[in-house]
Symmetry: C2
Subunit: 276 residues, 2 copies
């Protein structure tokens, strides 16, 4: 196989297997090429990935070593993506009764969802995440997008236990927006003790739902390693119960009468030091 | 930029943008290369994609022409993937009360979900799908995986209207498994008249839920172009109300007392003629 052909196959392989350790001998056998040639190929791929702002190849030394593709989204790409998203969200036609924003169309675009996932995966790339957790329904596609980049599984918290979940652990929590006591359940076999969990959701006001997930994780003796929400909005009536989180956009000054909304960049961009 | 570098960047670009028409002049400008060189690059990429069984580059002739990456999953890859999935599902520990199977762990793996999506996208690749539709909750990751391959949006049917959806259209339907009358809602602004819709869900017994989605689509004057379910099971008490569908696996002979299940390949493999 020629180098040109090998580069196409290797690029695809790496892009499809983020965070997976790939040994040089594996590529060497797969493409029937000398290890020195494979090394050169990987250097070319690493350079181009960095140039395109989509991540880099991490070398792992030693006998069991190799490379891992770490997908990242550059600060430049993130700024431009979120800038456009803010504009889209400021469209007054999105305003719904109660000051909510219609976002289902945006969350329905696989490419947008993928980019959002990539941004969170960048923010959490150093945290050794084992599992991504979300609550049904709107957070699900975002959680899968993050998990795909980090190459870890997703667990989904539900508000109603279903027979197909098997036995579950449930907790009660107070929802910030409705002030009602609600229930959350998670299948017993879905989480191992000591897992490092990243919580993902589409929206946070006071943070009651996120806080519920934090309490649920305590029941499983799992660690909250990171919290990511696509959009946050202030709750005038209630103080926020979640402190350490990453948001991509911040919704402020919703004025239903004047039909105006302001959407700004979220905490993701505060003290942004992600390299690449 | 050297050919080797260009091939890495072009491969990544195409893999990230399935079904999107990319013109030769676009690549030519982006990589500052002659159109003839770009043509040669595309031929190399096309060959390798076909060799790896992940699809092909479709040429679109004419002034507004270019190439589109059509992701496919080869029959060989599909057989091997589904073979392993059947084995996993036949594990008696998955048996739940009522003869249901625990599948949340499998549906929680982004890579597995992606492959399932790719298989459905292969089955429906000639159908000019405009939108992928599913019902909350378990079908959501599968629907996004299909939609990502087809480069179309997802719309999610819910069982309970939420304020963040805006105004909705609702229908009542009879669920096969529980025999209860249930409601389904879809935001009014989520579907255009005449859209070609592909329905995706994780599980089908009698097909009441799928049939509900078919009826909901009729309210929107949209077309049901394809129906895909990950797993189907027979319902001893009720006849199936959905006829034309693609399933990946078929669950039969569930014996709770003997703790046995049989899982076979689904209708996807009947008269399989997908090229590639």
């Amino acid at each position: 196989m020629k180098r040109s052909e090998r580069l196409v196959a290797m690029t695809n392989y790496l892009v499809e297997s983020p965070w997976a350790l790939v040994s040089l001998p594996f590529f060497s056998r797969k493409f029937d090429a000398a290890k020195s040639s494979i090394s050169e190929d990987l250097a070319i791929i690493n350079n181009m990935f960095q140039e395109e702002g989509i991540g880099y190849l991490k070398s792992v030394a030693g006998a069991a070593g190799g490379v891992k593709y770490i997908p990242l989204y550059s600060v430049e790409n993130s700024e431009s993506f979120i800038g456009k998203l803010c504009e889209q969200l400021e469209d007054p036609n999105r305003l719904l009764p109660g000051g909510y924003l219609f976002m289902s169309d945006i969350l329905g675009e696989p490419k947008t969802v993928k980019t959002i996932g990539r941004m969170f995966a960048t923010a959490f790339s150093e945290l050794n995440i084992d599992v991504v957790m979300t609550v049904a329904t709107k957070g699900i596609p975002l959680a899968y997008a993050v998990a795909a980049c980090l190459n870890v599984p997703v667990v989904i918290v539900r508000r109603d236990p279903k027979i197909t979940e098997g036995s579950t652990v449930s907790i009660n929590y107070v929802s910030g927006s409705s002030r009602k006591i609600q229930t959350m359940v998670l299948p017993k076999r879905s989480l191992q003790e000591g897992s490092n969990v990243c919580i993902i959701d589409d929206f946070m006001k006071a943070g009651g739902t996120i806080n519920g997930m934090v309490n649920l994780l305590a029941e499983f003796n799992a660690n909250v390693s990171g919290i990511g929400v696509l959009s946050e909005a202030e709750d005038e009536e209630e103080e926020r119960v979640v402190e350490d989180y990453t948001s991509l956009v911040k919704i402020t000054n919703v004025d239903i009468i004047k039909k105006q909304i302001e959407v700004h960049k979220g905490t993701f961009f505060q003290g942004q030091t992600h390299s690449n």
